[in-house]
């Protein structure tokens, strides 16, 4: 099977790597680019653990081939915190005990970051709907929900303060 050269950016860094056309994006990110923060839990698009952001949209990297991401811009969990500072969402996951084993967490953080960027003030029900694309077997979703709700609330306050 022939290999293709793939050039893409992940978290602002350029990667040029070779891959067979059938290689999954999830494997490419983990194995070729060495970014193991993106996890693989089912490889059939249900668990959501492999979620990354491709050109501004959350996608399941196990349902995409690496060649399809040629030339694209990708964000993974490694790119969330800057200079060792957790993002408010990450910080709230910590404070609200939104993770236990942490295996589902990167995918949930990526989906949520993307979602909140587009829907800054979701209701609890909407957050639950968004989370329905992710499986977590540790937390019962309670801590996750609280962490996201708190992030939404904190954002509202910041907007208020900035606006006043």
């Amino acid at each position: 099977m022939g290999v293709h050269q793939i050039r893409l950016t992940i978290n602002g860094k350029t990667f040029v790597e070779e891959a067979e056309p059938r290689m999954l994006l999830s494997d490419f990110i983990r194995e070729n680019c060495g970014l193991t923060g993106t996890h693989v839990g089912c490889e059939h698009g249900v668990c959501g653990a492999c979620t990354v952001i491709v050109n501004g949209s959350a996608v399941r990297s196990c349902l995409m081939f690496a060649v399809q991401a040629d030339g694209e811009e990708i964000q993974t969990v490694e790119g969330l915190s800057q200079n060792g500072e957790l993002t408010p969402l990450q910080q709230n996951f910590k404070e609200c005990h939104g993770l236990q084993c942490g295996f589902c967490t990167p995918g949930i953080l990526m989906s949520t970051s993307d979602y909140l960027a587009k829907n800054p003030e979701p209701s609890k029900k909407e957050i639950k709907e968004m989370l329905s694309g992710h499986l977590c077997r540790c937390t019962g979703y309670d801590g996750i929900l609280k962490a996201i709700q708190k992030t939404v609330e904190d954002n509202k306050e910041t907007i208020l303060i900035e606006g006043s």
């Binding site: 290689m23 839990g41 249900v46 490694e78 990450q90 005990h97 084993c101 077997r137 019962g140 309670d142």
Partner: protein, 804 residues
């Protein structure tokens, strides 16, 4: 410094897990010559293997070799197991397959893509046999036999009599009995199994990295299977495991399979399981049929119980099975004062995936019939279920309570917790609401469950599978031990090494909290190492994480190891300050005299003296600071000749109240409120505690409503993906209220008990009770799970038909 035990401290693990820096098995580096494995699996539930043709697979570029059952036999013994039945279990089928998904060949190739391609080219010819999947049919005369050399499908059978059961049944006003089926379900950690195995011929040593987490008695079992001295099997467990809930504990056949593959092929072998393999061929909970009979008085008092339990361990019995049947042996009568008990326990084998540990292990199977029968007693006698529970609950003044089967319940106030559940759930008010709803044609119900949550398993309990005579002939097993090592380096920094192989329970955080309290050092300055390496860590057969043993045992080992360090640095300071040791105390990293606080010595300096200046140490003291403590709970004796066994070290209590509404059109069960009251003794970190409870409860909810590893009657496996095996997602989670009372355990130094499994045990039956309560006007009784809309709808429509 204030104490930090008992504080809801955020976890030290989180920073790495939130930034993608966790180190799970699939993230670890491998030697350059590592190859990847793909496993060819049986598509038949029961068949002889006639031939395996590997030629085509071998010709695929990049394939390094293909191995089959015949190849591994030279290097392996069957896995040993704690029953006398001679079942031969290898990690790969030798001449016969006994469940769909059983390995028949392993392809080793340069990468996983190539290995999987080649696996499809392996041609296996089978001669199919009649399969057996039904528990009760498996013990009928003409049932197909899985293991010819065993002669029947029964792997274990024991009968137990405690108290005077005949008398109790004679004295009873009524005998209430029913049969219940508990399904086969699993836990589906989001991370599947993963292994990197390497054989080194020069030392004849296997090194296996795996997300396996104990009990480490399995290390001996695996070494035996690999035919090597146990110190030639080095197991390394990564610090991060992506969830398990028991599924990654117990006999982990793929570790041995990859180890042998590495030996035969001659390079390190890595294998990451896929989801379908996980669902069909990793491990699962045990399905059980229970016939329960209760001898009761008219006032609802239960005098005695008879239970015939038949556990289905699947195609092979493997350690720690038949533990599902025995883990709860001491608490077989649950939260009730019932002195007369008969148990007739069978373990059978059928053509399904072999079973093993799972969150709640044995508890959900036990409490489903027990708590269902309590409700049926109430209905039969025309009493309120709450009244029947109340009448039978063990009273506060009865602690420590000795159960019929040998359990010693350490502490509790069951009535208080139960009343708190009734009050919080507004039980009486709901009953009125229910009446009104019924008048409007709505179906409301309320379910109760009171369960005892055992934690910290006594390693002796599994030998109850043997008769007293068989036990007498072998080495007795007892205890519930765990080890921890704490060291101070030359600069006074603290390292803590634990052997409890966490998979998300925050052991690093809680260990840091405990050490922080004992040594008066801020938690941020403590480094906890959770990797376990059987060649270098302090561990024992009981080590690992299962049976909620960290809070009761792991934490105790850490606590006492920290005290050993504390004593040593106090001795050093006392020597240098020339004061009595008991006059010294530690605060804010400083050791000082209570009588004269101006006499001070820093902790850092005490540690420094032990390393840089050992000549200055008191006479006879060893240099360095490196202390290991092996802890065992005292109340964990081997079973006696009367089969009395205290199978766990601590016993918590859970009282649940759940309200449901059932949609008559669709049969869907909608949970209105879930109230759960816990008594787990002293809580070490309430934030982690509630997280564990939520997780356990939602797993129980899945078991009640959605989850089942389904097979058709021909043994074909039906639930091989997350589209077929349904697990709860966020929108399905109801309102959950958790409350605590704390009855400290007198058995553990910190007063803590294990927790996190309780609701996995209680939720299936609490919800089943609520549904039965709701459907009482239709004369529908729930005796199997899961309660899918389909099942409820069918029950309702059958009922309508018989009524019309």
């Amino acid at each position: 410094m204030n104490t930090v035990i008992g504080n809801p401290l955020p976890r030290v693990e989180d920073a790495r897990l939130l930034t993608g820096q966790g180190k799970y098995i699939d993230d670890l580096g491998t030697p350059g010559n590592t190859a990847q494995a793909a496993i060819v699996r049986s598509s038949y539930p029961h068949a002889y293997i006639q031939s395996i043709d590997i030629t085509e697979a071998l010709s695929v570029p990049g394939v390094k070799g293909v191995i089959t059952g015949k190849d591994v036999q030279t290097y392996l013994n069957p896995f040993s197991v704690g029953v006398s039945t001679p079942v031969k279990y290898y990690p790969i089928a030798i001449d016969k397959v006994r469940y769909v998904g059983e390995p028949v060949a392993v392809v080793i190739a340069k990468n996983r893509y190539i290995a999987e391609d080649a696996a499809e080219l392996v041609k296996v010819k089978y001669e199919t046999l009649e399969p057996i999947v039904d528990i009760e049919k498996s013990i009928e005369e003409d049932a197909p036999i899985l293991h010819e050399n065993v002669g029947s499908n029964i792997a274990n059978h024991r009968n137990f009599h405690y108290g005077n059961v005949d008398q109790a049944f004679n004295d009873a006003d009524r005998i209430i009995k029913h049969k219940f089926n508990f399904p086969k379900y699993t836990a589906t950690p989001i991370e599947t199994y993963g292994i990197i195995a390497q054989y080194e011929s020069s030392s004849d040593q296997y090194t296996i990295q795996a997300n396996f987490h104990g009990p480490f008695i399995i290390q001996s079992v695996m070494a035996g299977a690999l035919k090597i001295p146990s110190n030639r099997l080095r197991i390394i467990v990564p610090k991060d495991i992506g969830g398990s809930y028991g599924i990654k504990a117990g006999t982990f056949p793929y570790m041995v399979l990859c180890a042998v593959a590495s030996r035969i092929i001659g390079c390190p072998v890595k294998w990451i399981e896929d989801r379908q393999e996980h669902l069909s061929a990793s491990s699962s909970g045990t399905d059980r049929v229970t016939y329960i009979e209760a001898a009761v008085k008219e006032d609802g008092k239960v005098l005695g119980l008879k239970m015939k339990m038949i556990d289905n361990v699947g195609a092979y019995i493997r350690a720690p099975e038949p533990a599902c049947l025995y883990r709860t042996h001491a608490n077989s009568t649950g939260a009730y004062d019932i002195p007369n008990l008969m148990i007739d326990g069978y373990v059978v084998m059928t053509n399904k995936l072999p079973t093993g540990l799972i969150r709640g292990y044995g508890g959900q199977e036990l409490y489903f019939p027990l708590e269902r029968i309590m409700q049926m007693i109430a209905f039969d006698l025309g009493l309120d279920p709450a009244e029947v529970i109340q009448k039978n609950l063990i009273k506060a003044e009865q602690f420590p309570y000795h159960t019929a089967s040998g359990g010693i319940y350490d502490s509790g106030d069951y009535e208080k917790a139960f009343h708190l559940a009734l009050d919080t759930g507004k039980y009486q008010e709901f009953r009125q609401k229910q009446e009104e709803a019924r008048r409007k044609g709505k179906i409301f119900g309320v379910g109760l469950a009171c369960i005892v949550e055992p934690s910290g398993s006594n390693m002796g309990y599994i030998t109850i599978a043997l008769t007293p005579e068989e036990r007498a002939a072998s080495l007795p097993k007892s205890g519930a031990s765990e080890a921890a090592t704490i060291s101070m380096d030359p600069m006074g920094s603290v390292n803590v090494r634990i052997s409890t192989t966490p998979s998300g329970q925050g052991h690093e955080t809680v260990a840091a909290q405990i050490v922080s309290d004992v040594l008066q050092i801020p938690t941020e300055q403590i480094n906890v190492v959770a990797e376990l390496d059987t060649s270098t860590s302090a561990w024992s057969i009981a080590s690992g994480s299962y049976s909620s043993r960290f809070a009761s045992l792991g934490s105790s080992a850490v606590y006492y190891a920290a005290h050993k360090v504390r004593e040593k640095i106090l001795k050093i300071a006392a020597h240098h300050l020339q004061v009595a040791e008991d006059d010294l105390t530690i605060e804010n990293a400083s050791i000082y005299s209570k009588a004269d606080p101006s006499k001070k010595y820093s902790v850092k300096r005490a540690a420094g003296s032990a390393h840089w200046n050992p000549m200055s140490l008191p006479e006879g003291m060893e240099p360095g600071i490196y202390e290991t403590y092996f802890y065992t709970a005292k109340k964990a004796e081997a079973p006696d000749e009367n089969d009395l066994i205290n199978s766990s070290v601590t016993y918590g209590f859970v009282a649940d109240l759940v309200t449901v509404e059932i949609d008559p059109e669709t049969g869907e069960v909608n949970i209105l409120d879930y109230i759960t009251i816990h008594d787990a003794g002293k809580l070490l970190n309430p934030l982690i505690v509630d997280g564990q409870i939520f997780g356990g409860l939602v797993h129980g909810l899945g078991g009640a409503l959605y989850e089942e590893l389904a097979y058709d009657e021909k043994g074909q496996f039906l639930t091989g993906s997350f589209m077929d095996y349904l697990v709860p997602t966020a929108p399905e989670i109801p309102n959950i209220t958790i409350k605590h009372i704390e009855s400290p355990s007198p058995v553990t130094p910190l007063g803590a008990k294990g927790l996190g499994e309780g609701n996995t045990m209680s939720a299936p039956v609490a919800i089943a009770n609520a549904v039965s309560d709701a459907l009482k006007p239709y004369q529908i009784t729930i005796d199997s799970l899961p309660l899918s809309p389909n099942k409820i709808w069918n029950l309702l429509s059958e009922q309508k038909v018989t009524n019309s």
